[in-house]
Structures are given as C-alpha cells and as structure tokens.
Symmetry: C2
DNA sequence: GAATCCAATTGATTGTGATCAAATGGCTGT
DNA sequence: ACAGCCATTTGATCACAATCAATTGGATTC
C-alpha cells in the first residue's frame, strides 16, 4: 500500500541520532517466548492469542486464514525511549502495536515538536510518502510490535480483502481523529485540551478493557512525560502542570502519582473537554 | 469503503441551518452542458475531458475502463456559500471536486470553528464514521462535484484495483498533510502559519498548472475569506490581516486585491514557513 | 455619484499562556 | 539515610496574540 507518490519532502534532517534499536533482532514470528511460550520449526498460532487482534488490521481474519496471514509477520521489541524509525527513513516495514505505546512526532529545525499521536494496542504505524516515513516514531514505554515488510503487506492486502477494508476503515478513523485534534490545537483552551486528552485516554481504556456502565470515575495511566503531553496538545510543560493542578483543585481528578490519574468526575471532565462548561 | 465503524459521535448538532443545496438536482452524468456539450441517451465520455482526472481517484483508469467507471457517477453544482453536507449528516455520497473549492470544518457548540482543509480539483470529500460525515462541507466559490453513492463507490473500489490503491494513496497523503497541519497549529507562530499557508497555495498551483523552473514569484488567489483563513490557521482575522500586512512591508508579497496575492520572494516565504528565518 | 453594506485593515488595550526562575518530589545508586 | 539527578510543580514576570473598537476599502444598488 505504500506506493509511488508525489509529495514535497523538504529537507534531510540530521540532528541528534538517538538509539534506533537497530541492534534489536527481528525475531521470527512464533519464537518469542512471551507470546508463544515455545519455539520450533512449525510456526505456532501466536496470532490467535494476540492481545491486539481484536483491534488491529487483522481483526477480520480468524482460524486458518489468520494464521496464514500471520506467517509473514515478525515481532520486534523496543525498550522505553528507543526509536523505531525517524522521519525521512526509508519505509521498509509496516507495524502494528501489540503492547506498549509509541509516540509519533514531527519536528521543526529549531527543536519545536508536535506529537501527532500516541499509538497503542491495535494501532498501525508506518504511513509515509514516496517510500519514506513522515514522522519520528519512538517507544514511550516497553513496546512489542508486529511487523510486515511493505512488499509483504501489499501482497497480503491484495490477498485478504478483509484486511484491506479494515485498513481503509482504520485510516478513515485516523483522518477523523486527526481532524478532531486539529480542532483541539487550533481552537481549544488549555483546560479543554487537558480535559479532552484525559477523556480520550479514558475512552481508549474503555475500548480495550470494556466499560462498566454508569461509571463516573476511571483510573488513567499516563506513561508519557509532561513534555510529551505538552507537545501533543500545543502547550508548554508548565501550562500542562498548572492545568492538571487546576483540575485537581476543582475536584475532578486526583493524582496518585504524576503518571496515575484518578478521574473522579468523568461527566464534568467531558463537559470541559467539549467546551460546554 | 465507508463501512461499519465504532467511534463515539457525541451529540446531535442543530444550530443554524444554512442553504444546503438540496434543491439542486443531481444531473445525470453526461447531461451537463458545461461538461459534455450535448446530452442524450448514450453517455458521453465526459471523464476523458475532465480537468480533475489527472489528480483524482480515477487517475489510474483510462479509455474504456474509465468511461465504464464513470457510468455510475453524477455531477452536482454548488454556488458559493452553499452547504454540501453537515457534520452528522448521513454519508450517502462520496465526492470528488472537479472545480472550485470546498471548505471542511468542525465546530464547537459556542461557535468556535476549525477548518480542517480546503478541497480543490481532484480532492475527494466524504469520509465519515458509522455512516455519518464527520465535518461540515461548504462551497467557498462556485463548485462542481463528481459524486458516487457510497454503495456504488464500494463496488467500484472492489472492481477497479487502481482506484482502490489510488484512494489508499490519497488517504495516506491526507493523513500526512493533516499531521503537517497539526505541527503548524500546535507549534508555529502567526507569520510562519501565514507563510506556510501561502506556500501551500503556491505549491498547489504548481501541481495543477505546472511550475516554471527557477520561479521566485507566483500569483495566488485566495477565494476564501479572512475568517476562513483564521479558522484554518488557528488565528483571529485581525492577526491574519496584520500578518499579511507584515509580509507586505517585508517586501515578500504584494496585495493586488485582498483576494489576489503576488508572492515576490517565494524563497524567503518558504524559509519563514519552515521557521528557518 | 451618493448611500449602503460587509469585509478587511488598522489602532488601543487586555489577558492568557509563554518564559524565566526557583522549589519540590521521586528515583537511583552508594 | 543521603547525595545526586531529573521530572514535575509552583512562582513571578513578560510578550504576544486576542479582544474591543474604529476606520478604510471595495462591491452593489438606487
């Protein structure tokens, strides 16, 4: 699916070159003990027990078709902070997040940064133009990825229409999520931005873990730094911190640690997020 | 391609209901004099002379295949200011812009608005979730659209792999354009935003009309209002106006009319756009 | 050509979030 | 337990874009 495109990619970026995780071996699918429990010549159906399957590209496949599709996949582990790829790198692989969280970001030459998304379980990573990625991708915490080479992905897309339409659907959802975030960046106040961010984290948790009805309180984990949150919301760390404090003093959230937020009034938080308050 | 999705669409929006252009007839393809020159039972190959073809969804098709593909399309005309569809409207059609320009926007309940894109010749319109559009779409100037029903689009996508892969490619480009714009909204200064906007308009013009080499000056048309520009860039009209004045006083642009800008130093404008200056 | 209307521009002031700076808190390792 | 380190929070000040307000300009109508 990553095909020939014409789009102006401006300039090569050199900058600091952090740990790119290139030393990480691309373990053959089925050989990772934490996924399959055993190894061998015959590929195990690790896809069947994959925690990301329900949310991922492959969600439309099951049984024999799923394991056949999975044959061409490999896995990769990243430690917190490791870089998966950089903007302008050759787009060789197409990834799906199995566990952990990855941040995608674009930078200006003077260091200003915009995080364009946090990718977690089930999300895909690897869009680009002209055979090159269009953003930096870095692990926020320890991450496990399922990956295909781009050529393999392309043939699989042609072969499995369910995967193709699921990718289409996911890209469509992605576009709308980005438009949503543009509204946030361009027009929302800091308190609306932070509230919106926390609500999204809550919704994501409900999507993954299931939501109890009538819940007005949720526990949210924020594995990323305040700097990451600031660069995602178009704020400074100080404003992020102050705004979180404000929400705390309003009795809407409680901070257990700086990484663990307990939302005590989700309803009110949603009102704030949408600027209705 | 617009299939079943799960995505939280918040609330119904009522608001002001402007002219939705519903009285406009959906002329059968080939019957519009401005496109085909004559009408009749036999469909004319208006696709072959379509100005959008090179840039559009159908760019991969030619000859008999193209005209067969075009059979299921219809055309629609909108006058400046008319609404094509509203957020949350049922997503019945998938559009391609033939001529003119459409703005896509999302609104907050208190009237704050973010324009998520200006769509012109060749661009597609009509993404949504759960069978509903996710943005308002309004004509900026007089617009001609080529449209398919969503079911027809889906069958055509399955039938014509070139169209399918082209749509994929276009959606991919769209995602990256949106990410780019997020960087602008979150991290760029007013002068960078305006410069960036003007550069994009220039690039678009080059893409459509072809670029003479070594050109350092371009004439750009801005059919949208200052309010639209402000809502696209996350600024106020006053700041848009002042910033344009600043660029004028820097000798980088000249205003022929408020809608017609002559860029006299495209190179410098590009530097400003990227924050390199 | 004058009057009307609306968009765009320019001017004056304010307020909010950025910036600069210091303090606190939570880890790590010894 | 303490030092050292870094992330986060809190504090003080500032600057820039938003706001409020007035003027200009261009198009349309009579």
């Amino acid at each position: 699916m990553v095909e020939n495109m014409t789009y102006n990619v401006a300039l090569e970026k050199t900058k600091h070159a952090p740990d790119r995780g290139d030393h990480e071996t691309l373990d053959q699918a089925g050989k990772l003990s934490f996924l399959s429990g055993h190894s061998g010549q015959v590929k195990t159906d690790y896809c069947k027990s994959c925690g990301a399957h329900r949310l991922a590209l492959c969600s439309g496949l099951k049984g024999a078709e799923l394991s056949q599709f999975g044959q061409k996949s490999k896995h990769k582990k990243l430690n917190a902070g490791q870089m998966l790829f950089g903007e302008f790198d050759e787009a060789k692989y197409f990834y799906t997040v199995v566990s952990g969280e990855v941040r995608l970001s674009r930078m200006l030459d003077d260091g200003r940064r915009q995080i364009t998304g946090f990718k977690s379980t089930g999300d895909f990573i690897g869009l680009g133009v002209d055979g090159h990625y269009a953003a930096d991708a870095e692990a926020i915490d320890d991450v496990v990825l399922c990956l295909f080479t781009v050529p393999n992905m392309n043939t699989s897309l042609a072969e499995y229409t369910e995967v193709q339409s699921r990718l289409m659907e996911m890209m469509q959802t992605e576009v709308i999520k980005l438009q949503n975030h543009m509204l946030l960046l361009g027009r929302k106040t800091p308190i609306e931005k932070i509230s919106n961010f926390l609500c999204e984290r809550a919704n994501r948790k409900f999507l993954v873990e299931g939501q109890e009805d009538e819940t007005n309180s949720v526990e949210i984990r924020l594995p990323m730094s305040r700097t990451d949150i600031a660069d995602f919301l178009g704020l400074t760390i100080e404003t992020v911190s102050r705004t979180i404090t404000k929400l705390r003093k309003l009795g809407i959230i409680e901070l257990q640690t700086s990484q663990n937020v307990l939302v005590t009034d989700l309803y009110e938080l949603q009102l704030l997020a949408n600027g209705d308050a």
